[in-house]
Amino acid sequence: MTAALQLDGLKKSFGKTEIIRGVDLSIGKGERHAIIGPNGAGKSTLFNLITGRFPQSEGHIRLHGEDLAGKAPFEINRMGLSRSFQITNIFPKMTVFENVRCSLLWSMGYRYNFWSMVGRSRALTEGTDEILDQINLTARRDLPAGVLSYAEQRALEIGITIAGGADVIMLDEPTAGMSHSETDYIVELIRTVTEGKTLVMVEHDMGVVFGLADQISVLVYGEIIATGTPEAVRANPKVQEAYLGEALEAH
């Protein structure tokens, strides 16, 4: 079976500085894969390479076996990969409803359609309301997204990310900057909305990682030093030495 996401010898340099120094990784279909590592390890860069935000310097990225080299973010998205951002990235001036509706348009086949009214499509309105229901923002439906609380905006971003029906979901620090109760809420939300999909996430909160992921990769200085189940990674001496020791004891 082809992996949902396959990275081979992936490298990225900015000028002379090599940020990603040869990453090989295979993420199977339906897997919940967390990428952890100390600050500056290159986690976000890795995300940006996979989603087409930056071009890679060397190596290959394959989504369902298909090479993503040279593809723009919108092309990668149409192939079934969707992402969220570390810093909330939504349409702040549009209503919550419109935010979600915009993310449904392409996948529902509207493309660059200029001859039908968005307000008239029952399927579109119902599809949008269904997503709003899933992310519990129905009560905020008609408010501009920019006035929502931080946790609500993060939930909205997850809603936007999953709305298009992508089967590979990539979340960049979905719980960053959240309180304990908010984190618990978002983790539960991620668990339900990514049911049956491939989930790749970067996360700092070890509670979230060990609670949600069934595979973990540890990225240190642009290289993956270990990949495996949470137990195996936890027990790995290299990981403990490089990074996890303190975080694990605290947990």
Binding site: N77, I90, K93, M94, E98, C102, L105, W106, D142
Partner: protein, 432 residues
């Protein structure tokens, strides 16, 4: 409290579907009725000339706002698409055999297609990026085509432009468009059609994504949309309606010159659109109306009309970035609370005295202008129906006093207005 109303996901959906069919129709019917009766209210020939000019400017401003307001693209050269559409139409008017076979009311379609064709070519490279890059390219292309007008004389007619005769077209149900009023109804019909189409465009998937790309192009790309293609389609659509406006100009004036497509014209439409407000669909309509009035009526009163327009524009950019439409929509919350009445007196006090101050200041400017530029020995000037000698002291003292007192009262009463504003926007009893 309001949560109960909206937690049922089916309810708002129904409300919205019903809304999209019935409620928005009312303003359109009213607008159509207004366009029908206007020539019966303002019967003078000069009034009809102004209304024609206004309607053309409205179409152009709405087309421009498809870029600026809805697509987030600041163009410094949009007059080019209107101008080229207009030039093409004058050429069609001069193709005797061909023109004799098409009714005049269809001519704007050709103008639109011409504007659209040019926008397709220019848009193919200018819409790659928004922001500064787009603005610079639009300026460059605008200058380039304006320069072409003296080089490609066969199409642009050189410095004197080209002229035609609209009446050679195929009669349209017996109407030959010899009279100004017939042209008025032609333009009014196109205004209604174009405005409706542009409004509907903003409700389509592409129109919604134009907003999304304006607000956050990167996010739109990660939702499957190429920001560049979205911008390109908006640009082409805007080019079409600009071309329609140009064609109507050709029909109305029967002459086009370089002035119709140079950067001055592009700047004026930006000014009119921004003045009206780019955030709402009706903003450019207001802007075009006010702008045309200033351009036609105020310009008869004073040579300095451009100076006042400039001041108004700067003040708008600095203090009311939402434009006229934004100012009006600011009052919606107070209206919903039924507290608009609270603002009546404070507005009268502050804005009334402010207006007096402005009139005083304008008098000072006019008097200075007259004193400096009137021919030697001509000391007499007339302003506000009063004739006086600009070289005596009394009028100056009066003007300065009126200015200072007007602005002084406005300043004194401003805090009361601010307080009334706060009250009008606070729901009774509720502190939320």
């Amino acid at each position: 409290m309001t949560d109960q109303l909206t937690t049922d996901p089916t309810k708002p959906a129904q409300r919205m579907r019903a809304g999209s069919l019935t409620v928005p129709l009312i303003p359109w019917v009213l607008a159509a009725a207004l366009l029908m009766v206007l020539p019966f209210i303002f019967t003078a020939n000069s009034a009809i000339t102004i209304m024609n000019q206004m309607a053309i400017t409205i179409i152009f401003a709405l087309a421009y706002n498809m870029l600026l307001g809805q697509g987030g693209m600041l163009s410094f050269g949009h007059a080019v698409y209107a101008g080229v559409g207009g030039f093409a139409c004058v050429h069609i008017m001069n193709m005797d055999d061909f023109f004799a076979q098409i009714p005049l009311p269809l001519l704007p379609v050709f103008g639109g297609l011409m504007g659209m064709g040019l926008a397709t070519i220019v848009g193919s490279f200018s819409t790659r990026k928004a922001g500064t890059v787009f603005a610079m390219i639009s300026l460059g292309v605008g200058e380039l085509i304006a320069a072409c007008s003296v080089i490609i004389v066969a199409f642009f007619g050189g410095e004197e432009g080209i002229s035609g005769d609209r009446t050679y077209g195929m009669p349209f149900f017996g109407v030959e468009f010899l009279q100004q009023i017939e042209v008025y109804y032609l333009i009014a019909a196109w205004l209604l059609i174009s405005a409706a189409l542009m409004y509907l465009y903003s409700r389509t998937p592409l129109g919604r994504m134009a907003n999304a790309v304006r607000d956050n192009p990167e996010r739109a790309e990660f939702l499957g949309y190429s920001a560049r293609w979205v911008r390109f389609f908006s640009f082409v659509a805007s080019g079409f309606f600009a071309g329609v406006a140009g064609a109507l100009f050709a029909i109305n004036y029967e002459i086009l010159t370089e002035e119709n497509l140079n950067t001055t014209q592009s700047g004026l439409i930006l000014l009119a659109t921004f003045l009206g407000g780019v955030g709402f669909f009706f903003g450019p309509i207001l802007g075009a109306i006010v702008f045309t009035l200033v351009q036609t009526v105020l310009s008869l009163q004073t040579e300095l009309w451009g100076f006042y327009l400039g001041i108004v524009f700067v003040v708008t950019v600095m203090f009311f970035p939402g434009g006229l439409a934004g100012l009006i929509m600011m009052h919606v919350p107070a209206m919903r609370l039924g507290k608009l009445g609270l603002l009546g007196m404070p507005y009268l006090k502050t804005l009334g005295s402010g207006a007096v101050g402005c009139l005083g200041a304008a008098a000072l400017i006019e008097m200075t202008f007259h004193a400096r530029h009137a021919s030697a020995g001509d000391h007499e000037m007339t302003i506000y129906w009063t004739t006086f000698d600009t070289h005596s002291v009394v009028p100056w003292i009066i003007a300065i006093a009126v200015t200072l007192i007007g602005f002084g009262i406005a300043r004194r009463t401003a805090p009361a207005l601010a307080e009334a504003w706060g009250q009008a926007n606070t729901p009774d009893g509720a502190m939320r």
